[in-house]
Symmetry: C2
Subunit: 562 residues, 2 copies
């Protein structure tokens, strides 16, 4: 291992000023979301600030992305909440300990995957499935926050219980007014403010900065309103409450075996989702900046960040979309900006944390709701549906699964649906009977072109690699064609689109050859690709083949014509 | 639905004599294995005889195979045993009730899958994985029977517990002698008897019949020995014991919801394994006889047989390898042979069951062990390993998983390994940079052939459909080639081997196009297949493409040369 990370050896001096500035700006701008996501995770709000310190430094040292910003994020927070609420009461000491265990264990899993170079596991999920998962989670997140706006106290975190509690208990009061106002302001800022500022002649860069500043302004104004009119004491507006002053010491612990066993599935799923989100975010950012990322270094960085987060702050972290966007917009060039941001956050925690004691929870809930609504990817879902029905079904199934069955079952369903679409597509191959275009060496589908055929030979092309899942489709089609064409003496399988033949397919073809042989029909191959032929050469299939292996379809046609 | 099954409307009269004879022969020959597999399943031996009556009739009416014989089989029996022993004591009323529930529920699942036309689910398992599963199960079966030979009483059914019990308690006595003698005789009959009979001039057909007769002779001789010398009473040889005389009435019941929930996973796995085994057996038999089977009708037949078995006999059944082989060897032509066999078994149960009360268990154990050893498919495992390492690993992993983790976890592992090999192969595509063979229109891999290339254009061919799992490999290769070739103005993706482009791949290609555009490089396509082009035509990828879509690689080469 290098002593210094790659970006710091040597550190490009010309980036120093922009990194310093970006670090400070990011810290100030992400304060509201750090507090909000801690709340979403069912933890004390200041936990969100703590995990924006040392974990960020850990990621800066080990990650590979130049500008990705790590910290509390929506998806990991809602996962923490939905995994732990059935086991412990949010905010209770047991709950806080379990959240730290979750961070530690998923961090170790990520570290392990990175060291074992298992970054390819992130491929288990297709984009439509990820879109479905994120959208379903976003709806769950919105539901989870409505209780702060309407003063309900649902007993569990699933959508049904929350809805029932809202119908039974919802009470409109000052919190509702503050929360709804904040939602309107934040939604307006997100959707229209930049355009409006542009129209009055403000530069896009500056406009984007102002838009990013709005959440902080809303938080400050709401706190000011509470303080000015004593809203918390006189009107019962729920606020963040006492925040421990100063920086807490790290808490080192070893997780209990029993807890690990109970949380095994959530830990694995959290690591998987963290992996997918972090790598895909880092890739998007790297492509824009013409850089490359190393998926395994990303896992090590994210894993280290979570392990550190477990000991200080006790909350799982991830690569954040809006956090990274702020980082890029503020001009960050290297991970030094992250280290600066960490120290700036340290200063905030030590100096300014008491400012947030009277921040109304409804405002944090509002900022979560607005962020979550923007995560619902209706366009992606619609696009997947139109482009490929199987992808669309996988996306909708995952989204609905998350909402109805919960996050864990939803993501499990997503993995299954990803693999099922893959299996389904590969097992329904396109198969064509070919004939020769007269006076040429070209062969085309007999159903689409005027071609000549041989009465005694059938030319069949399968447009898919042959494997355990599609061999019976090929066999069924072949036998059906043989039934239809009486008097066949040869079958030619055209292998030009076959990139692989697995062991099952090889055996089934061998069986098929013997079976056709019993009927007096020879099995031939044409245009077997080099790598496929290398592997088939020594098998019983080719060594005992009743027919021949032709280099080209035309060779076969000429030979069998005679 | 037809009133009569297809094979009986009209019934081909010329087959009547052979079907009648075959049915009677099969019944006599399969008595020992019916008793043995019931013992293997932890049920009273006569249960194996009962489920060879009405379930066989049910399968004959609904199945599609002409000669497959259904009844108690090794795999379903060991599954029953390993699923139920942790819950109830073998032979206890609770155990017997649970076995019937297992038969009923897995039968209903199979019926449902058949009616919903889900026969393709059998494709979830590749042949190497099935070979691994069957081999692992066979080893477990051998282990489970050693206790009858060595008088041990293991407390659980897993391999470790059985081994420990054998080491601690093994006692050699008359049972051991009878069992080992039976093993030697049966193994000799299986391996060498037919050859020996051939050498002394006996016809192959007659020799095969004699071989099949040996197990029954061994059973009769062993019983005779017990009766003659009072081995059970004087030397403590364990025997089958009291068999209820006559035919028991069917027991109709509804399974309890709690039991179903507890057995949900085993029920699903049992249905899956039954499905795979039955369909693959039926297919092998049908191919030999130049017939076709209907996978969904097979599921309905097997499902109906299990539902009937639940109510009469109370033991799951399946399509049996040796049972079907006996049926074919005895000359069966249609499922009428099965119906005849069912009535013959009815006669045996009513008339001859008491004959088996003094049959030594060690002989049944010996016949199970000999059958199980022949199921260990070392050749198949070795072949898969040599042909394709991924298939070999999947097979060995499944086999070891069954032996170490148990049947359920083993089959789960097998499904995962099947899918993992599929995903792994598709996600590591063969990618080649192509150049033109001088003075031709042929393009070949630059690493293998002397070809000419253009300094400003890169020609890349991916030999795999593009999907969520392999796009980053393609992207990484493409970017690496761009790094290596400074001054590129065009990239041409050759799509001749791409049979599908899923939604994820389409989006990633669109991102890639924009990214290349920012570097001043155009993305072009060549030789997109018709179905792929139809689908891509209306997407943002092709509509906003920076480059062009060429019909052939040579068109692209000519155009970009100018």
């Amino acid at each position: 291992m290098r002593l210094l990370p790659r970006w710091a050896s040597p550190y490009p001096r010309q980036h120093l000023a922009s990194d310093l500035l970006a670090g400070v700006i990011v810290t100030i701008l992400v304060i509201p979301q750090s507090l909000a996501y801690a709340l979403l995770a069912g933890l004390p709000p200041q936990a969100g600030l703590y995990v924006a310190i040392f974990p960020v430094i850990a990621y800066s040292l080990f990650g590979s992305s130049m500008v990705q910003a790590v910290g509390p994020v929506a998806i990991t927070s809602i996962m923490t909440y939905s995994v732990l609420t059935p086991i412990a009461a949010p905010g209770s000491p047991e709950y806080i300990a379990l959240a730290a265990t979750l961070a530690l264990a998923s961090g170790l899993v990520l570290l392990g995957c990175g060291l074992l170079r298992l970054g390819f596991l992130a491929r288990l999920l297709s984009r439509p499935v990820i879109a479905g998962f994120v959208s379903g989670s976003a709806v769950l997140i919105v539901f989870s926050q409505l209780k702060y706006l309407f003063n309900a106290h649902p007993a569990a975190s699933d959508a049904l219980t929350v809805l029932a509690a809202l119908f039974a208990e919802a009470r409109i009061d000052a919190s509702t007014a503050i929360g709804l106002t904040a939602i309107v302001v934040l939604a307006f800022a997100r959707s229209s403010l930049a355009g409006l500022l542009g129209k009055v002649g403000i530069q896009p860069g500056a406009a984007a900065f102002v838009v990013r500043l709005v959440p902080l302004l809303v938080v400050l104004l709401a706190t000011l309103a509470v303080v000015s009119w004593n809203l918390d004491r006189q009107y019962g507006v729920a606020v963040v409450g006492s925040i421990v002053e100063g920086l807490p010491a790290p808490v080192f612990f070893l997780p209990e075996a029993g807890e690990l066993k109970r949380l095994a599935v959530p830990i694995a799923l959290m690591a998987l989702i963290g992996m997918v989100q972090n790598i895909s975010m880092a890739q998007v950012l790297a492509i824009r900046r013409r850089e490359r990322i190393d998926a395994n270094a990303e896992l090590i960085g994210l894993g280290a960040a979570n392990v550190v987060a477990a000991f200080h702050g006790g909350m799982p972290v991830g690569g954040g979309v809006s956090r990274s966007a702020v980082n890029v917009a503020a001009g960050a060039q290297t991970p030094l900006a992250g280290i600066v941001a960490a120290f700036a956050m340290l200063a905030v925690v030590i100096g300014a944390a008491p400012l947030f004691t009277r921040l109304p929870l409804a405002v944090l809930a509002a900022s979560i709701i607005v962020a979550a609504v923007s995560m619902i990817d209706l366009r992606g879902l619609r696009q997947a549906w139109h482009y490929d029905r199987a992808d669309g079904i996988a996306a909708l199934g995952t989204g609905a699964g998350v909402f109805v069955l919960g996050l864990e079952a939803g993501i499990g369903l997503g993995i299954l649906l990803s693999l099922a679409t893959l299996l389904y597509r590969a097992s329904t191959p396109h198969i064509a009977v070919l004939g020769r275009i007269p006076d040429s060496e070209h062969f085309r589908n007999v159903e689409r072109h005027a071609v000549e055929t041989l009465p005694s030979a059938l030319f069949l092309r399968t447009d898919e690699s042959l494997f355990f899942g599609n061999l019976d489709a090929v066999e069924a089609r072949l036998l059906a064609e043989i039934e239809r064409n009486g008097g066949l003496r040869d079958v030619v399988l055209i292998m030009s689109a076959v990139n692989r033949v697995d062991a099952t397919a090889m055996e089934v073809l061998h069986d098929l050859d013997r079976e056709l042989g019993a009927r007096g029909i020879r099995l031939n191959f044409a245009e077997i690709k080099g790598p496929v032929h290398d592997r088939l050469r020594d098998t019983a299939l080719l060594q005992e083949l009743s027919g021949r292996v032709f280099l080209s379809v035309n060779d076969a046609y000429e030979a069998l014509q005679g």
